[in-house]
């Protein structure tokens, strides 16, 4: 059963017992006029209406799964960073909040220290969110008000859009476009406009330099990124995530292990991992918001929930980037039986994210000229070499394999 069929039956149930009666009741309230509620009830009864309702459910479920993952990713980042840095990280628990209230009220503490603050700290993220919402939204007096508000909208909406684009498995997917991965990359490529406009509109030199760096970085990394993906597309002959993952299961390697794309296209995998790091702007490639020289880069002038949503959107982009890497190179949701494929997919994504967190907290940031040099001089030729290897595999290897029967290595 796929997500869509589940949502379809759910939609049928809700339409029949919940929505149609409500709309009919509304239509009956004002009989003299032609009431739109009645026609909506009629439309919900049709096939198209039920499909639309089912898609709405599917998109919402995928979105909620993505947002839950976001909290987990942020929590993971905080905890792993803390452990790397020899400290404990957030440990706030619900009990400690209750007892903090007692403490503030001046009542005698009825707890022991050790028992009190032993939570795993995940509600720290919620508390931070509440804090950000309650902060004042400051717009600089001399900023360009229109673009200053447009920037976050472009950036955050294009990032949140990513959440419903990638499938967690072939049955758990909100979207099933044949051009699936290209839609993801298109959504990725909208965000730099938001960065540039918000950086420019802040009327601040640091913000503007941050925006310019973001655009320069995008230009240097978008091309090797897409070229390294092109190898996978060539091999699978499709942009569809489902086809790509199925193609990776076809060949076998040593001891009958599936030959995921990471093995024949190792160069492409390296190029892709570096480029996607630059694309989602994580250390060591977080030049647009290099806090050492540009204060906070293009987010310098933002405050409150806008700043918080910028941060959240960056984590969403990170999560989406790791998901794309998993689909392209790590066999997607494939894995041994007892664990469901969705969980396999999330395990692989989280492994990549943990790897990124380790990178983030153990290397310094590199410089603008170095990042451009790396992108244009090293990664671009490497991605072309990767495409060459793939073409050799696709075109020449079958020719030879007809003459000599090789053991099934490739």
């Amino acid at each position: 059963m796929s997500l869509f069929t589940a949502c379809r039956s759910m939609a049928e149930w809700t339409a029949e017992y919940l929505l149609i009666p409500i709309f009919n009741f509304q239509a009956g309230l004002f009989p003299p006029f032609s009431n739109p509620a009645g026609s909506v009830a009629d439309w919900l009864g049709t096939d198209g209406g039920l499909d639309t309702l089912a898609w709405t459910y599917a998109v919402n479920i995928a979105f909620m799964v993505g947002m839950t993952n976001l909290i987990l990713v942020i929590h993971l980042e905080r905890k792993i960073a803390a452990r790397i840095q020899d400290r404990r990280g957030p440990m706030l628990s619900l009990r400690s909040l209750r007892e903090l209230k007692e403490d503030l009220a001046g009542e005698a503490p009825t707890w022991k220290f050790k028992d009190n603050y032993s939570g795993i700290g995940i509600i720290q993220n919620l508390v931070d969110g509440i804090k950000a919402i309650t902060k004042e939204l400051i717009v600089p007096t001399k900023a360009d008000r229109f673009l200053f508000t447009m920037g976050p909208i472009i950036f955050i909406s294009s990032s949140v859009f990513l959440l419903v684009l990638f499938p967690l498995s072939d049955r758990f997917a909100a979207s099933s476009a044949p051009a699936g991965l290209m839609v993801i990359m298109a959504a990725f490529s909208i965000a730099p406009i938001g960065v540039l406009t918000s950086g420019w509109a802040s009327n601040n030199k640091y913000s503007m330099i941050g925006g310019m760096r973001s655009a320069a970085q995008l230009m240097a990394y978008e091309i090797p990124l897409l070229l390294s993906m092109a190898g996978v597309f060539l091999l699978a002959g499709s942009f569809d995530p489902v086809t790509i993952v199925e193609q990776q299961q076809e060949g076998t390697w040593l001891f009958g292990l599936p030959m995921w794309n990471i093995i024949p296209q190792f160069i492409g995998f390296i190029v892709f991992m570096i480029c996607i790091l630059a694309e989602v702007e994580r250390v060591p490639f977080d030049l647009p918001e290099a806090e050492a020289e540009l204060v906070e880069g293009w987010t310098t002038e933002y405050s409150g929930i806008r700043y918080m949503l910028f941060l959240a959107a960056e984590y969403i982009r990170g999560f989406a980037g790791a998901a794309v890497a998993t689909i392209l190179f790590l066999g997607g949701w494939a894995g041994p039986w007892p664990v469901p494929p969705e969980i396999w997919f999330l395990i692989k994504v989280y492994l990549i994210i943990i790897f990124w967190i380790f990178i983030r907290w153990s290397v310094p940031r590199i410089r603008t000229d170095q990042i451009l040099e790396l992108g244009w001089k090293k990664l671009l030729p490497l991605s072309l070499i990767n495409i060459l290897i793939v073409i050799l595999m696709v075109e020449i290897y079958p020719y030879f394999s007809n003459i000599i029967t090789l053991p099934e290595v490739f």
Partner: protein, 87 residues
């Protein structure tokens, strides 16, 4: 009226309004952002016409390249920081 046709007229009028804003904008960066809106809405038109791949490529190529246009807009035009010195 057909729903698809309704959406088409809605999108088309938005495209025309954005295009008008591109031409009549005071500020070059404003114009470029409206241009990006034009491209995005055109991609939506393609989706209505069942040309999804074309829509994706439209976003990837045209909208993605808008940031380059913004850079040229910033770098090649002289702009005064509001209430401040020349940039």
């Amino acid at each position: 009226m057909d729903l698809v046709l309704l959406i088409f007229w809605f999108l088309a009028s938005l495209i025309l309004a954005s295009a008008w804003a591109v031409v009549n904008g005071n500020d070059i960066v404003h114009s470029v952002v409206w241009l990006a809106t034009v491209f995005l809405l055109t991609a939506c038109l393609f989706i209505i016409a069942d040309a999804e791949f074309l829509a994706v490529i439209q976003v990837l190529v045209y909208v993605g390249a808008i940031s380059v246009v913004i850079i040229f807009g910033i770098m090649l035009t002289k702009r005064t920081l509001k209430g401040g010195e020349d940039v």
